[in-house]
Amino acid sequence: MTLFGKRSQYSTVRVRKRDMPDGLWVKCPGCSDILYRQELDEALGVCRKCGHHFPLGRAERIAQLAEAGAFEEWDAGLRSMDPLGFTGTASYTSKLESHARRCGYPDAIACGRARIGPHAVGLGVMDFRFLGASMGSVVGEKVARLIERSTAERMPVVMCCASGGARMYEGMFSLMQMAKTSGAVARHGDAGLPYLTVLTDPTTAGVMASFASLGDVILAEPGALIGFAGPRVIRETTQQELPQGFQRSEFLLEHGLIDCVVPRSRLKATLVELLTCLVPDNPARAGAAPAAG
């Protein structure tokens, strides 16, 4: 470009994308420190300096929680459709395609059978990178199938949640996934099986107002944004100044929603211990116990 022609005296170093898959260096939003990606990955995606928990992709999360080679994915063939023919600034179909290309998988959740320590569980892992892990028909269906099949196979369910809410592009089909998934949780609970949720940054709106809130035990990663409405919406609607730490894991622990805030380094051990204490020795007897409200 001639306009900037004079600048050509400075050399530009271009790093080819495949040399630097996710950026070699990452800036920590917590302490603004520059972190070496490889070191960050070795530290489970947690800043060594300030403890900020970076969001995890599904593969990383599964690798951190499940025993090596012990994750068998279910319902990987489900694909989102465009039931409303939704067109806004871009079509829903083109958004799905671009996210699938960028992320390397077709929708926002991976579900399957996993082994966590000695426990066989149904494991669901949401991935915020795919359209904000919004819940459309595919996410709802996969969650429902995971919970139903785990009920049938008498397994507890561990659900790692992250989501911006319902997927607007599927309209009311999305909203109804809230009911569908909550119904599946009810049946799993009636069968006397534990359902554990792990809330990660961020877990909000339609997902929080359905299966994410319904854990028999609700764990949260430190500093995760958790709530119904987003902070911006609340500020705009009410014109109120939001309290310090509002809607963060620690705030919700203090306000009685969350059972414990667990750093990522202890998450797997905590889940193993919880499962050991909660998975009934005799499921038939536990199933006969009256369902608690």
Binding site: L175, A179, G183, S213, L214, G256
Partner: protein
């Protein structure tokens, strides 16, 4: 005549002004213009019919928010006998944004509850413009469980822009309150008839919206997000609300076509606000008919059908997955049936 006019009702208003003139003229001049008046009245009715039969989705949203539209309490007063309001969640407070209580409809006992909007500033402040707090949803659940214990069928009326997005709401866990209602409504062993009578605003509506029959008034809407919210996200401008309303497929007709509601209850010409009596009569007829259809079902069958109804909602494709090739041998053959092909499921509720 309504003191409040929606923008697209302007032609009606103009004709009504002319009619008024005509009447005044006739009185002052003592000239018989009866024929003209009759023709003018016909023309007004015809214009209203024309406008209301071709409402756009965004116009319907405006009708659903009409300040003279009947609200939950108006229907309770017109549809039921012996309503006794029951208050409070026995935990924190009584939320006036959700009203509930026992009543009889055509001699049938019901637990009736619904979201309540205010008619003026004072009542709107009291019931928070129909936006319920967590205690509202917890009160609703308390009353529904009470009904379930004594075999009383449940009727819920939905008219809310959404659950209240505020600090107190979050501090008392509005998301959890809604989620628990969703889960527990599947466990209620009594018939549940849900009707969207005005605004069906997202999770705040669904929080009392799990039932065996989902009805909706003709000009009501039910949406995952408000058109304004959708426009603000997609177009960064609320002025695009009409386009968002089109895109969201939120009208009663759209929802019936999608199999997400069971029945659309027609409103009087010109909308429910022009004739609350007639609207209430139609609503009562639909509620009674649906309650009666459900009343003979055994509780287990009722709950199983309710689960299947919501279980079937959703549209997706399913392609066969090649058997995984992990280093370890697969524990069992892949469960994905090979014959699903491009199976776009959009099951209508099995009833």
């Amino acid at each position: 005549m309504p003191a409040y006019t929606l923008p697209f009702e302007k032609p009606i208003l103009e004709l009504q002004a002319k009619l008024g003139e005509l009447r005044r003229f006739s009185e002052s001049q003592e000239i018989d213009v009866g024929e003209e008046i009759r023709r003018m009245e016909e023309k007004i009715a015809e214009t209203r019919r024309r406008i209301y039969s071709t409402l756009t989705p965004w116009q319907k949203v405006q009708v659903s928010r009409h300040p003279l539209r009947p609200y939950t309490r108006d229907y309770i007063a017109r549809m039921t006998e012996g309503f006794i309001e029951l208050h409070g969640d026995r935990r924190y407070a009584d939320d006036p944004a959700i009203v509930g209580g026992v009543a009889r409809i055509d001699g049938r006992r019901v637990m009736l509850l619904g979201t309540q909007k205010g008619r003026d500033t004072k009542s709107n402040l009291r019931c928070n413009f129909g936006c319920a707090f967590p205690e509202g949803y917890r009160k609703a659940l308390r009353l529904m469980r009470l009904a379930a214990r004594f075999g009383t069928p449940i009727v819920t009326l939905i008219d809310t822009p959404g659950a209240f997005p505020g600090i107190e709401s979050e501090e008392r866990h509005i998301a959890e309150a809604i989620a628990v209602n969703l889960r527990e409504m599947f466990r209620l062993p009594v018939p549940i008839v849900v009707c969207v009578i005005g605004e069906g605003g997202s999770g705040g509506a669904l929080g009392i919206g799990v039932g065996d029959r989902i009805l909706i008034l003709e000009h009501a809407y039910y949406s995952v997000i408000s058109p304004e919210g959708c426009a603000a996200i997609l177009w960064k401008d609320r002025a695009f609300s009409d386009r968002a309303a089109n895109a969201l497929k939120l009208t009663a007709g759209d929802l019936l076509e999608a199999g997400l509601v069971d029945e659309v209850i027609p409103e009087p010409e010109g909308g429910a606000h022009t004739d609350p009596e007639a609207t209430a009569a139609r609503l009562r007829e639909a509620i009674v008919r649906n309650l009666d259809a459900l009343s003979s079902r055994p509780a287990d069958a009722l709950m199983a059908a309710r689960y299947d109804k919501f279980r079937a909602m959703g549209v997706f494709g399913e392609t066969p997955v090649p058997p995984p090739a992990p280093p370890e041998a697969p524990a069992e053959p892949p469960d994905t049936p090979a014959d699903t092909g491009k199976d776009a499921r959009q099951d209508k509720p099995a009833e």
